[in-house]
C-alpha cells in the first residue's frame, strides 16, 4: 500500500504530527461526545479478542499435552497389572512412572502460571476499557494512542522500539508483543525459504484453519514440491512425486485444478519459458506465502488486516479531505495543508459534505440564516450585511463589485441555501 511506504519514509514526522492531531484537547463531555466514545469502542474489538484467543489456545494446548501424558502413564500402570513382572522390574517401572508424574506436575504448574498471566491480561484490558470517564479521558486517549503506535511497530517488526515504548508507558498488558513474536518466527523462516515452522503452526491450529477452510497449508506444500522440482535431477523428481503422493494428493479433493497446474511442472521443469508454469518458480512466490500467513494469523486471532494506525488515519483524513483543502492558501488549521498528510490522503476519497458553505465575496463572512445571501439583478450573490451597509453609505444604491452594475437595494432578491 502506498500509505505504508509513505509512512515508512516519514515515520518520525507523521507520528509526531498525528500525535498532535489525534489527542483531543480537554473539553466537557456532552451526550454527543458520549455517543462518539461508544462508537469508537467498536474499534476496540481487537484489544479484547486477541488475548482471549491466545488464552484459549494456551488452554487447549496444555490440555492436549496433559491428556496425552496421563494416557501414557495410565497405560503404563495397566501393563504392569497385566504382566508377570518380577518384583524388581515392577518397582523399577513404577519408579519411572512416578518420575514422569512428577515431571507432569511441574509442567502443569508452569502451564497454570502461563494461563494465569494471560487471564490477567484479559482482565487488565477489560479494566482499561471500563476505566474511561469524563475526568481521565485525556489520559485514556493518550494511552490509546500509544497502544495504536505499538500495534503499528509490531506489525512492522520494530520489536525493540515497541517494547521500549510499552515498558516506559506501563502498558505491557495492553499490547500483544509476544503474539507478534510468535508470528515473526514463522515469517522469518518463510523469508529464509523454510516451511517447517509454518507447517508446525498449521498443525497447532489445525482445527481452526480447517473450520475457516484455509488452504494455507496446501500452499506451503505446493511450494515445497516446487522446490524439489527446481533441483532438476532424476532423484529430485522421484522425491517430488513421493512428496506429492504423501502431502498433496488428499488436497486434490477440493483443489484439483490448482494441484494439476502445479504438478505439471514435473513435465515443464524449472527451465521452462512457458509463462503459465515459469511463474511458479519465481522466488517472489515466497513473498506471497508471507502475505498469506499474515492474513491467516490476523484472521485466527481476530485482528484487523491493516494496522490500527492506518485505519484511524484513513478514517480521519477521509473525513477532512476536501478539494479546497488541497489548494494553496487554505487555512493552516487544516491537516491537509501539510504535505505529509496530503501524501497519505492521496488515494482516499473526498469527504461527503451535505451542505455547501458560502462565503461573502465582499465581507469574507459566512452566509447563513442570520446573514442570508441576496441576489442582484445581474445574478451575482452577496451577503445581506455587506449589501445593507453599502446601501446605507450610498443612498440606497448598490454597486456590484464584480461588474459595476448599479441598482437599488429594493431590487435585491433573497436566496435560500439548500
Amino acid at each position: 500500500m502506498e500509505i505504508d511506504s509513505a509512512t515508512n519514509g516519514n515515520s518520525d514526522t507523521v507520528m509526531t504530527e498525528s500525535a498532535a492531531t489525534i489527542t483531543p484537547s480537554p473539553v466537557v463531555v456532552s451526550s454527543s461526545r458520549s455517543n462518539q466514545f461508544t462508537e469508537s469502542l467498536k474499534l476496540e474489538h481487537q484489544l479484547l479478542r486477541v488475548p482471549f484467543e491466545h488464552y484459549k489456545k494456551t488452554i487447549r494446548t496444555n490440555h492436549r499435552s496433559f491428556e496425552k501424558e496421563v494416557s501414557t502413564i495410565v497405560n503404563g500402570v495397566g501393563e504392569l497389572a497385566d504382566s508377570d513382572w518380577s518384583k524388581d522390574d515392577t518397582v523399577s517401572r513404577l519408579t519411572c512412572l512416578v518420575t514422569r508424574l512428577q515431571g507432569l506436575k511441574r509442567k502443569l504448574e508452569e502451564g497454570s502460571n502461563v494461563e494465569n498471566l494471560q487471564a490477567q491480561r484479559c482482565r487488565a484490558r477489560i479494566d482499561h476499557l471500563d476505566s474511561v470517564d469524563v475526568e481521565n479521558i485525556t489520559e485514556w486517549n493518550n494511552t490509546k494512542l500509544k497502544r495504536i503506535l505499538v500495534d503499528y511497530m509490531l506489525r512492522m517488526s520494530y520489536f525493540e522500539t515497541a517494547t521500549k515504548l510499552s515498558e516506559s508507558s506501563n502498558i505491557m498488558d495492553l499490547v500483544d508483543i509476544d503474539i507478534f513474536r510468535e508470528a515473526k518466527k514463522v515469517i522469518d523462516a518463510l523469508k529464509n525459504r523454510e516451511v517447517a515452522s509454518a507447517l508446525t503452526w498449521c498443525a497447532d491450529n489445525k482445527t481452526r484453519l480447517k473450520k475457516s477452510k484455509s488452504k494455507f497449508e496446501f500452499q506451503l506444500r505446493l511450494q515445497e514440491f516446487i522446490e524439489l522440482v527446481r533441483v532438476d535431477t532424476a532423484e529430485s523428481y522421484k522425491k517430488a512425486i513421493q512428496y506429492a503422493r504423501k502431502h498433496l494428493a488428499s488436497w486434490g479433493t477440493t483443489h484439483m485444478k490448482e494441484l494439476q497446474h502445479v504438478l505439471a511442472t514435473l513435465a515443464f521443469k524449472s527451465t521452462t519459458e512457458c509463462s503459465k508454469y515459469k511463474v511458479l518458480f519465481e522466488l517472489r512466490q515466497w513473498d506471497v506465502l508471507v502475505d498469506q500467513f499474515k492474513q491467516e494469523f490476523c484472521k485466527l486471532y481476530g485482528m484487523t488486516m491493516e494496522p490500527l494506525l492506518n485505519i484511524y488515519l484513513q478514517a480521519g483524513l477521509s473525513a477532512l479531505k476536501t478539494p479546497y483543502g488541497l489548494e494553496e492558501g487554505c487555512t493552516k488549521e487544516d491537516p491537509l495543508s501539510q504535505e505529509n498528510f496530503r501524501k497519505l490522503a492521496l488515494p482516499l476519497p473526498f469527504s461527503k459534505q451535505h451542505h455547501s458553505k458560502l462565503v461573502c465575496y465582499i465581507s469574507k463572512e459566512l452566509m447563513d440564516t442570520e446573514n442570508p445571501p441576496q441576489v442582484l439583478p445581474n445574478g451575482y450573490v452577496y451577503s445581506t450585511k455587506a449589501l445593507k451597509e453599502m446601501a446605507e453609505k450610498n443612498g440606497g444604491k448598490i454597486t456590484c463589485p464584480r461588474t459595476g452594475l448599479v441598482c437599488n437595494y429594493t431590487e435585491l432578491v433573497k436566496a435560500y441555501i439548500s
Binding site: 532424476a234 498433496l248 515443464f268 521452462t272 512457458c274
Partner: protein, 229 residues
Amino acid sequence: MNLLLQETPKIVVTSEDWESKLSDVEILIEDMNRLVMNLLVAEGYREAAEKFKEESITMPEEDLASMNERLEVIKAIESRNLEDAIEKLNALNPEIIKTSFHLHQQMLIELIREKKTEEAVAFAQEKLAPLAEENEALQRELEKTVCILVTEGLPNCPSRELFHNSQWIRTASHVNEAIHTSQTGEKGPELERLLKELIWTQNQLDEKTVYVYPRMNDFSTGQLIYRPE
C-alpha cells in the same frame, strides 16, 4: 430532468416468415450427398462410404482404397496396440509421429499405467512439454495426465478416465484427423465447419439483441425454438 432512453427497435421474425424464407432456399440433393460422403471419408467409415457411393452415385473426393493405410493405424490404436500403430504410422507419415500430442499422451498414459514412473517423467519432459508449450488446451490435457502420477490412488481421481478404453478411442480419433489432414489438406469434415458457422451466425444475431427469430439449440435434431418476448 431525466431523459428516457429510447429502446433500440427490435426486428421480430415470426415462425411463419422464417419457415417461409427457409423453404425458399434450394439445397441440391447432390450437395447434401457430397457432404455426407465427405463426413464418412473424413471419419474413416470406409465400408459405409462404399455402400453410400453405390446407392447414391456420389463420388468421393479421394480413392477409398487409399483409406486402408489410415484405417490400419486407427484399428491398431483402438486395439490398444501402440507399437503396431507407431510402426504403421512410421511407414505412412513419420512427421505425424513427431507432432501428434495425443499419440504421445497415450504413450505417457501407458508408462504411468505400467508404473514406470521415472520413465514417464522423463518422457513427459522430452516429448510432451514441447508440444504443449504454446497451446493452452494441450497444457490442460498434460496437467490432467501428469496428475495421475500423484492422485491415482484417490477414490475419486478425476483423471482416471484416461485409463479407460474411451481414451484410446479419443486418441484414435485425433490421429485419424491428423492423417486425413496430412493427406487431403482438409481440417475435419465440412459438415463440422458448417455447423460452426451456424453457431457463430446465431451468436452474432444474439449479441446485437436486435433480432427475435426461431433459434436452433439442439443440433442433433435441428429443431427450431421460437421464444417471442
